[in-house]
Symmetry: C2
Subunit: 107 residues, 2 copies
């Protein structure tokens, strides 16, 4: 089980990374996280949707509704320019901390 804090630290970079590969909708994003982490990370919907709403409110994502006939409507999210920029920053931050931890753990 991944700690609450680690989840918090990785959600934004993960969502942004997954969406960089193309637009997607919430439910599918949660599934991707499961497969990418080989089942180690399990996102509940109760956390996923607030995250997406927050990122959109901050201008990192934009969304559009798509209704295929006879199917449940889906909200597709994609990266904005600001989102792409943020992804780069988050990635660098992560790597800086990763290096610090690696050093602290010892060679």
């Amino acid at each position: 089980m991944i700690s609450r804090e680690l989840i918090a630290a990785s959600t934004e970079p993960l969502v942004l990374s997954l969406l960089q590969r193309g637009e997607n909708y919430g439910y599918a994003i949660a599934e991707k996280v499961r497969t990418f982490s080989k089942g180690e990370m399990e996102w509940t919907e109760g956390m996923l949707y607030p995250v997406l709403h927050r990122l959109e409110r901050r201008g990192l994502l934009k969304s559009r509704w798509e209704a295929v006939n006879g199917e449940r409507k889906r909200r597709y999210y994609s990266l904005t320019a600001k989102g792409r920029e943020s992804l780069g920053k988050r990635r660098q931050e992560w790597l800086a901390v990763h290096e610090t931890l690696t050093e602290a753990w010892g060679a």
Copy 2:
């Protein structure tokens, strides 16, 4: 600047790692973090002491006061068995998330 969430995710593993190398006191721990991260991570005292108190309350650390004559008293912290165990777990969690992110970022 490292995001609040990344700070939160890395504090516990970092404190535990630094103390695995031997007992130390709060102020010195904060300095070590600065040097280990090459100045990337800056811990305020307002966050450091609550963290140490929390970890001791949870039984991951134990502490003792030491007063050298004429010097400000220092509280020295060290790992408990539970703390060492926790460090191993945290490390594994971190590495699992790191792999997931690395994969999501692409080869």
